[in-house]
């Protein structure tokens, strides 16, 4: 399910959490990392992907759409 966060690249800036129009991310304060909590509610708009300064997010379309 989109989006996928590459943990080796994510630095925890939280811009995806800040900008997602659907409020689909939560921010894990302990680990200081964003997490995708509501993948089923994704519009596939690409905001998280394009705004991520580390290029850590990719959009992987679910099987139902392909």
């Amino acid at each position: 399910m989109p989006p996928i966060i590459d943990r080796t690249k994510c630095k925890g800036c939280g811009v995806c959490y800040a900008n997602c129009p659907g409020d689909l991310f939560v921010f894990n304060k302990k680990q200081k990392l964003p997490e995708l909590k509501y993948p089923d509610e994704c519009w596939h708009c690409g905001v998280c992907r394009m705004d991520c300064p580390e290029g850590a997010i990719s959009i992987v379309f679910p099987l139902e759409m392909l």
Partner: protein, 564 residues
Amino acid sequence: MNVRKKALTTDILIVGGGVAGCMAAIAARDTESVDVVVLEKASVVRSGDAGAGNDHFLAHLNSGPEWDTDEAMAAYYERLSQGLADVEVAKKLHLSRIGEILDKLESYGIEMKDRATGRYIRTKSFGQPGPYYINFEGKNLKPAIVEQMKQRKVKVINRVNVTGLLHDGRKVFGAMGFNVRTGEFYEVQAKATILALGDATRLWPHPSGLPFNTWMSPFNNGAGYAMAFKAGAELANMEITAVTVVPKGFSAAGLNAFTGMGCYLWNSVGERYMQKYHAMAEGAPRNTLALGTYREYIEGRGPCYIDCRHLSKEALLHLTENLLPVDKDTLVMFFDQKGLHVDRDFIEIGISEMQMAGFTGSVSGIVIDRTGKTTVEGLYAAGACTVPSFALSGAFATGYSVGEETARVCRKLPRTEMRDEEQVNREIERIYAPLRRTEGMNYKRLEDKLRQIMSDYVGYIKNEQGLQAGLKKLEDLEHRVDRIRAKNFHELMRTFEFQDLLLVGKLIATSALARKESRMGLSHLRGDYPNQSDTGGKDSTIIKAASRGIEVSFRPAATNTGRI
């Protein structure tokens, strides 16, 4: 539970920080020294239909040719809207201001012209008499206008879901809602309130089975229509829905990019089928493209495809590098993951889910006059939720115009604080009730049921008996709303989105029952009145709240907004 409350007072409250809302805020500050508050459910930086970008801007430039004049653009508007929207309102709030808005966008740093040539790239689609769509690099148009709001010291409060308007039965004086992350309750009082809210999506199922896979933003839940209706404002033509043609599996924007570049549409028996339905073939208006494609499918000539193979190398490059990835950031990735090559493969297409959308040619939504005022005192509206919305260009222009008009009115009004503890307490009780329930259904079950009813009875083809059956089922569903349980503030937001959607579904079905004709292609198709009467009556359906439910009447659009 202990509810934290925040109360604010301002001159102008703008509900919704998409393009229209941001532009209204900028305009208000440009016009008068007034305080402006914007309440946004997401973050203004990336919210709304254009949050992730847009690549087409509808504009005429008065550059010389006959098709490029004010008159020609107004005639195009009238032709598309079939007399169901007041062209004088559109001229005042949108069409007459396009040139000025273009200059503003360029001054905000949005590149409207081609960098290489310094000229506008213009393409033609959707029945236009000339190339009205400026192709531009609009990926970051929202961050750019948000920067302008910052410079003008507009107070923006993100992540607040507005659930209701403050009104005293005569006029609206603000709005209430809650923060979707902290749960904090907000009460904002204002001299004028502008609803700058979006479409109503998620009302019908998507063939992929994923309800958030919608053409326009799935986070637009018809809150503008719902709140305006509950405050007593009139809505027009709610039965005229939006259906479009999309790549199979993905309800992505991009049809205008394909048809604007001259792509063909083929059916499975090797016909360029749109030639049968419209003299302009693939250049036909959107609703005709949807109806033609739908007919091919139901009459057994599907699947249908978009074909770009004949395009020149330059045209293909423009399409795949400048247009498609800007209109929908992820569309090219989707084709990649599907194993499709735009330059050499047929791209399978399908009919999108239905929705209410403020696209070019839309005639449905909140009725506003030439100042952007609704039929209720103190309540204004702009952008996709209004009758004359007209897509991105309309959102920019109506937003700006209504912001100006509202600022002028507010300057003359004294700021008076109204206390209505009872109304506020009632809303607090209503908002947080789903969190207090220890048992109950999740909103999703009811929203799935809503989509099922809309699809079965208020779908692509409707008839009298079906609509009546659907309305009865929607009313039954209403009785279950009090049993929804939400486990956190995010679910609480979706719970209120669902309630607005349910009301909008009822308004659409009621209005569709009243319009006994088929109109605008697949936008309103009645099986019991199958002949398209696009040159037919000029009456709009008008609905408003009445003491016993919903009152429906018919009126010409012009009468409705005070022209005659």
